[in-house]
Symmetry: C2
Subunit: 332 residues, 2 copies
C-alpha cells in the first residue's frame, strides 16, 4: 500500500540479523525487501520479498535497483557492503526523486573511510589521536632508526576491508617482500592495547549523533568481533561526537578505536551497519527504529549511552537450508 514503510536492504549477504531486526521493528507498518547478486546469500530468505540482482559493477545495476524501489514503493534503501555505499551516495538524487531515502553518508565522507591513509591524514589535521601510518617504506625505516615506531607493525592494503591480506611483520626483510609482491600497501603501528567498536547513529534529519554504543572486543575471528562486552565512557562519547560531526557522517556507522594506556586512538570507520551491530540492538540501541522514525519525518531524541554495561555478546553459526536452487548469481 502507498503509505507502507517499505525498506530495501541491498547486498544483504549473510546479515540475517539486520533483516530480522527491521522486520521486527516494522511489524505490519511495512515490508523488508532484500537483494543480493547471489542466491546463496542466506539473508535473502529472511526478507518478506527478495530479488537476485546483477553484480554491482554491471552496467545498468543502479537502474535495476531504482525500478525495484518504484515497484515496491520503497521509502528507504541501505546497503550492507562497502563498495555499494559510494554508489548509493553518488545516485542519492535519483533515489530522492522517486521518494526513496538512501540511508548513507555523503560521497566524500565515504571515500575518506575507504582510503586508510587519507583518513589518517584527516585525523591528524583534526587533532584526533590515530594509529601511526606510512605509505613510504623509506620514511618508515628512518622513523624506526630514530625510535618513533618499532616492530612489529601491520602491513595492509590502503583500500580493503576486513583482514584481507593483513600481515603482522617483524622485520625489514618481510616488508620488502610484501611491498615487492603487492601494490598500494601501508605500514601501520601495532597498537598494544584494547580494541573497541562503536555503533553510532547520526540522525538523517538533524545530522546530530543520537546513539552511541561502545563494546570492548574480547575475541576476534577472521577480522570480525566474535565476543564483546558493552562499556561506557563519557570521554569516549565526547571524542566520538566531535569526530562524527567534523567528518559529516549520516545514518549508521561503525568506528574502530584502540585504547592504549587510557588514551583513545580512532583507527577506522565503516560507514554502514558493522558486523557487531547485533550486540547494540540486543542491548537496546535500536537503530532500525531510529531509521523508521527518520523515514516518518521524526527527529530522534538523543539517547547516547542509554544501555547497560557488562552485557556480553557471543557469536555462533546458524544455518539456512534451501533445496534445489537454480544456479544463478555471482557466487555459484
Amino acid at each position: 500500500m502507498k503509505d507502507d514503510v517499505n525498506i530495501l536492504i541491498l547486498s544483504c549477504g549473510t546479515r540475517n540479523k539486520i533483516v530480522q531486526y527491521f522486520k521486527r521493528e516494522l511489524l505490519d507498518k511495512g515490508s523488508v525487501i532484500a537483494t543480493d547478486c547471489s542466491n546463496l546469500a542466506p539473508a535473502l530468505y529472511e526478507a518478506d520479498k527478495h530479488y537476485i540482482v546483477p553484480r554491482m559493477d554491471d552496467e545498468g545495476y543502479i537502474d535495476v535497483i531504482l525500478s525495484i524501489c518504484k515497484e515496491n514503493n520503497i521509502k528507504a534503501v541501505l546497503s550492507l557492503i562497502d563498495p555499494e555505499l559510494s554508489l548509493l551516495a553518488q545516485h542519492k538524487q535519483s533515489f530522492l526523486d522517486i521518494g526513496t531515502i538512501p540511508i548513507v553518508s555523503g560521497y566524500e565522507t565515504i571515500e575518506l573511510c575507504f582510503d586508510k591513509y587519507k583518513m589518517y591524514e584527516f585525523l591528524i589535521r583534526s587533532e584526533i589521536q590515530t594509529v601511526k601510518s606510512y605509505i613510504e617504506k623509506e620514511k618508515f625505516y628512518s622513523d624506526v632508526k630514530i625510535g618513533v615506531i618499532n616492530y612489529p607493525v601491520f602491513v595492509k592494503p590502503i583500500k580493503g576491508s576486513a583482514s584481507i591480506n593483513i600481515s603482522k611483520v617483524t622485520s625489514k626483510e618481510e616488508i620488502e617482500l610484501l611491498f615487492s609482491r603487492f601494490d598500494n600497501l601501508m605500514i601501520q603501528e601495532f597498537m598494544d592495547g584494547t580494541e573497541y567498536g562503536a555503533d553510532v547513529y547520526i540522525d538523517m534529519i538533524s545530522s546530530e549523533p543520537v546513539a552511541i554504543f561502545i563494546k570492548e572486543k574480547i575475541k576476534m575471528r577472521a577480522g570480525e568481533t566474535d565476543k564483546s562486552v558493552s562499556i561506557k565512557d563519557e570521554r569516549l562519547f565526547e571524542l566520538i561526537k566531535k569526530f562524527v560531526k567534523e567528518t559529516g557522517f549520516k545514518g549508521i556507522i561503525d568506528i574502530d578505536i584502540f585504547n592504549v594506556n587510557g588514551e583513545y586512538f580512532i583507527s577506522e570507520v565503516n560507514p554502514r551497519f558493522g558486523g557487531g551491530y547485533p550486540h547494540a540492538y540486543e542491548s537496546g540501541v535500536n537503530v532500525p527504529s531510529m531509521i523508521i522514525n527518520n523515514i516518518d519525518g521524526k527527529v530522534n531524541t538523543n539517547m547516547i549511552g542509554q544501555y547497560d554495561e557488562d552485557i556480553y555478546m557471543m557469536k555462533y553459526n546458524e544455518i539456512k537450508i534451501r533445496k534445489e536452487m537454480k544456479k544463478v548469481g555471482g557466487e555459484l
Copy 2:
C-alpha cells in the same frame, strides 16, 4: 533419573547447533550437559545444564569430568575439540567403569589424524590417493626441478587445526622464510579442484560405517565451510568405506576430500563432529539419534546415501547475550 539418557558435550565452544540437535533428539528421554573452560562459550547456554571447568591441560581435569559424569548419570560423552579427543581415548576405560561411553575413535587412530605427515604416509601405504606432502624442503626442491610438483604449494604446520598459519607460497624464497621462522612445517601440493567434506558415522557397536553425507564446499571462510551443497557418488561412498575400515575409526568423523579431474584424493580427517555437520543433520542424516541408539544398545542400520542431493547450506551469525557475568575461565 537412573534410566535417563544424559549426554555430556565437552568443550562445546560455539557449537550451539550440536547441543540443540541432541536436545531435540532426546526430548524427555534425557538431558544435555555441556562444559567449557570459558563462560564466553555460547553453546553452554543452550544445554539443560552447564559447567565451567578447568583448562584441559590442567592437572586433575579428567577427574573433574569423571565426577560430572557420575553426578549427572552420564551415558555418553563426546568432545568438540581436537586435543581433547586423545584425552578421552586415553581414559576410555575410566569412563566405561562408571557407565559412560566415550563416543570417540581409538588413541592411535586419533593421533594419526593430528599428524598430517603420518596420515599422508598411511594413505600412501593403503594405496589411497592423497595430497603430495613433504617435510624435507630439499626433497621438495628436487621434485620441483624434475616436475613432480609445481608452485603454488601450501606451507602448514604438521600438527594444527583449521587454517592457522597456512600460507600459499609461490617461491623458494618464501619457503625459506617460513621454515626459518617456524618449526614442524610441511609443504603440501595445491589441489586445483573441488573440495568435498564427508560426515561419516561409524557405529560404536558394529564398527561399520552406517551413514555418509557428502557436501561440495562452495565457499570457505576462516578455514570453515561457509556454503555447501549435498552431492552423492557411489564411487566416493566406496572409497570412504574402505578408508574408514582400514583406519579403524569409530563414532562421528569428518573427512576432507579433493576432486581433481574426477579423481578423489583424501586430504584430512577430524575424528569428531565437523563444523559443517549441521548441513548433514538438516538434510536428514541424524547422527545424534544414531549415538542415542548405540547408547541404548541398538546397532544402527546402514543408511549410507539416504539423503537428497542439491540441498544448499548457508551459514550466518547468530548471537547469544548474557548479562553481568563473573570473569572466569580461560578466554576472559
